[in-house]
Assembly symmetry: C2
Homo-oligomer: 320 residues x 2
Amino acid sequence: MAVYTEVSDEDLEAFVAEYDLGAVRSCKGIAEGVENTNYLLQTDKGSYILTLYEKRVSVADLPFFIELMDHLASRGLACPTPLHGRDGRALRRLCGRPAAIVTFLNGLWPRRIAPEHCTAVGQALAEMHRAGADFPKTRANALGSHAWRALFTSASPRADEVAAGLGGRIAAGLDWLETHWPKHLPAGVIHADLFPDNVFFNDNHVSGLIDFYFACNDFLAYDLAICINAWCFESDASFNVTKARLLVSAYQKVRPMSDTEFGALPVLARGAAMRFLLTRLYDWLNTPKGAMVKRKDPLEYDAKLRFFAGIAGPDGLGLA
Amino acid sequence: MAVYTEVSDEDLEAFVAEYDLGAVRSCKGIAEGVENTNYLLQTDKGSYILTLYEKRVSVADLPFFIELMDHLASRGLACPTPLHGRDGRALRRLCGRPAAIVTFLNGLWPRRIAPEHCTAVGQALAEMHRAGADFPKTRANALGSHAWRALFTSASPRADEVAAGLGGRIAAGLDWLETHWPKHLPAGVIHADLFPDNVFFNDNHVSGLIDFYFACNDFLAYDLAICINAWCFESDASFNVTKARLLVSAYQKVRPMSDTEFGALPVLARGAAMRFLLTRLYDWLNTPKGAMVKRKDPLEYDAKLRFFAGIAGPDGLGLA
């Protein structure tokens, strides 16, 4: 939501000169991307996104992210494609930070989710999973099920400041998830954060997926379970089974799931709700008061966690 | 520094359909413009800025600002030109707010001020004053010299929270300014906020002036005095006489000042320092802790005010 690093014109021009982009025409800080500084860069050759990676992204992970986007784009997935400089490198430094230029994607992310969006995102997610199947690098999911207990421990003493009983609900949920979390499911590279603001549309068709900075290796169906959380609830916290059906069936048309995967969706969705509840709770309690970041409400995921805790199988999600 | 209003895709498309712009390709919230919500809008026809006017801008003033940009652009000044819809209107409503689309200007605003920038901005300011000379509407300067005492009264009880002795320095400065402020100088439409982030450059040439939302009628030389404050100090608060000379002489080449105007520059510059000190102090003391706005340091203008208080005439600014 902010520009963390101001780039001087001289530094910008020197940086852009490493690429075959012509002259800089304009460069506007954009109010998207909580983690990094993003500029919409316009040059003689077109529009691009210039990203400066701020400290929340681990430098060691950057080659994974950049090469993943390169790989997915080479497989035909619409996603930002890193530009390579004259020296072949896609990742270099600007203003003391790692930085890269990627292609600009047209489209708008949907502020109001229509059922057709869920169909389109289900298909796009499965296409991403297929395109990533032969990506050679791996990255552990730093926010996967193994990390939740530690996340909670750091937040638990103050959880009840946010809502009465929240700490107890999370503790009970973690106990349950640790017992029921699947051990073996088809795994691969997942996006892990495919929320509406990371999916661009043109006329209800996906024009691109962005923000691969949580991508990692985990159960593929867990990525779909994240989308169930992100795309199928209404703003009043009610669960829209029509959207869930469209999302899952569109996904299955491209990458059919095994019965075990399908049956695991409710557990995975409950785990995904826990993951976003925990990180939002952590951020809520640890964001400095004056920070220029809109804090996301953890209680939205407390409600989702309770919803998933109340269902037994896929039919509780409206899935046949 | 923020997107205050999120525009849904449906609302955006309906809004853009009022213009002859083709289809929307993308729309990114930009992290510039403290007062309003600005989107960089790309359509089949090109790039534009979509502005939603938030509550700090008075609705009654909007026709003045929009018509002024129209007028200046028609006189050949490079500034955002409001687009008129099929119904002829440039100002309409979006998401419950007044909104307008203006042309997009290429260029970068300078993060580091070089002497050549001062030459260019002096010329551009004088050209704006000439282009605005026959603009028929008027708007009083709500932050002009008459407003300073009241601004201070609202901030004075807490001024010393910001720096020891600040309240006393402002009170003494106001007393002096009220006695010495010029009564009669050539007046007209001024920009009133021509800081570096409101001037775009291409290769050290001005490609456009933006942000006319403080424009009003006041002494023309006061606008130049604002630029002396905004462009001629180094980051260590030292005054750069080379920059001041270039700024003022480039201005004079396009619009020569009378001796009285020239002689008034030190007083006007001291008043401009007071104006920005007061508004920054007010914002500093009244910005809510969690607000997504970078507060600007009032003490920068405390230092400038002290500098101007210490000089007697234009030669104190390095001006012949």
